[in-house]
Symmetry: C2
Subunit: 195 residues, 2 copies
DNA sequence: TGTACATCAGTGAACGCGCGTTCACTGATGTAC
DNA sequence: TGTACATCAGTGAACGCGCGTTCACTGATGTAC
């Protein structure tokens, strides 16, 4: 029954990947250990060979969850080399799309986990991972959005707030007209103005 | 042991008030029936004289939770009669304050419940109450913020998104420098420009 | 390279716990006369 | 207004359930020689 070291590492990665997805979809409390392990085709007992507790998994899963949104921005940047406006445009359009709204499991962790972190114990490892992810997202946004003005940090914070707020409200109101309106209104507001 | 009709109604209101507060602090899943009833000085069994189930309480508690933020705007309006800019200024300052961040139980329901509703079953009674509350908040914001332009509805949606996003991210990053920065950056961005 | 043995990844039954909910019971309230 | 009785708000023990976690066990993997 014992797995090889390679398989063990693969299993650990699979657990983290599954947790990163499920945690964004349902929150940490919404994912049980048996359920998580079933997702990767194992039984619950094995979980504790990889993590001391469910709590110990949280920061690792959160950090993994944040790596997805990086891909959003990087993909946009790759599609528009040396074109910051084009990069931003694609990034914003992807972020504030019905597709992203309807698929939180593969989407932005800042938005998906914000509600949980707002209630988490400040200073816990999970929150540290979350704050780290948000700060990195602000830095990346700031770098692409404009290093020209002195208040580019503030600008990035505002843009992120609008994005997170619109996406979360859009998810929360899904099935109603206002859900789409929130996405398109926010997109209009943050899209770089054409010259 | 039987309560009078007056007392019964008082108890029901106390349960709803307590639920409206606790649900904003910890989410619906974070509040147990025994805990809720203890908050109003009763035992859990009596809960089911007032509500068929915990699920049936949710929309009622949510609707109650939304009445608080109305007071934010109305209080600001009362302090600045016939002064929309002054009203908005006070409203935004109150909303994006460390005090509001640190006290979700008495604060805006749109923000406090957004994370839970993003994961709720669309169309459920709880979500209907939430959507209703958000729509009313947009309407009120639109009325105060400016009926001059044709896209005042869009403007209200964007402002709400920024407010909700900034407040939620600020809560989620509490204890870190970025938490205060998010509030002040968003406040700067949405405050009406002095003439 | 083969062999003997220790290691340990994963299994699944079992634990204590708190949850939402039920229900027999109590006794003050409300009603009928 | 008084009295007899039905009603029903609230109590608290008890239910089944799923949770996080533990642990004896299995047997393939890794290691020592």
């Amino acid at each position: 029954m014992r797995s090889s070291r390679q398989d063990t590492e693969k299993h650990r990665e699979a657990i983290i990947d599954a947790a990163a997805k499920l945690v964004r979809e349902r929150g940490l409390d919404g994912v049980s250990v048996p359920e998580l392990m079933a997702e990767v085709g194992m039984t619950h007992g094995g979980f504790y060979r990889h993590f001391d507790s469910k709590e110990a998994l949280a920061p690792v899963a959160f950090a993994r969850a944040f790596s997805t949104v990086d891909n959003f921005l990087q993909a946009a940047a790759n599609n528009h080399p040396d074109d910051q406006d084009g990069t931003l445009r694609e990034f914003f359009q992807t972020y504030l799309s019905p597709k992203h709204r309807d698929d939180p499991g593969t989407g932005c962790a800042s938005t998906a986990l914000a509600g949980d972190m707002a209630r988490a114990t400040p200073g816990a490892a999970a929150q540290k991972a979350y704050v780290c992810g948000v700060e990195q997202m602000v830095r990346e946004l700031q770098a692409v959005q404009g290093s020209d003005s002195a208040d580019s940090h503030q600008q990035a914070l505002v843009t992120l707030s609008t994005m997170v707020g619109a996406l979360l409200l859009s998810r929360a109101t899904r099935g109603n007209a206002i859900s789409d309106d929130l996405l398109s209104a926010a997109l209009q507001a943050i899209l770089p103005k054409p010259d």
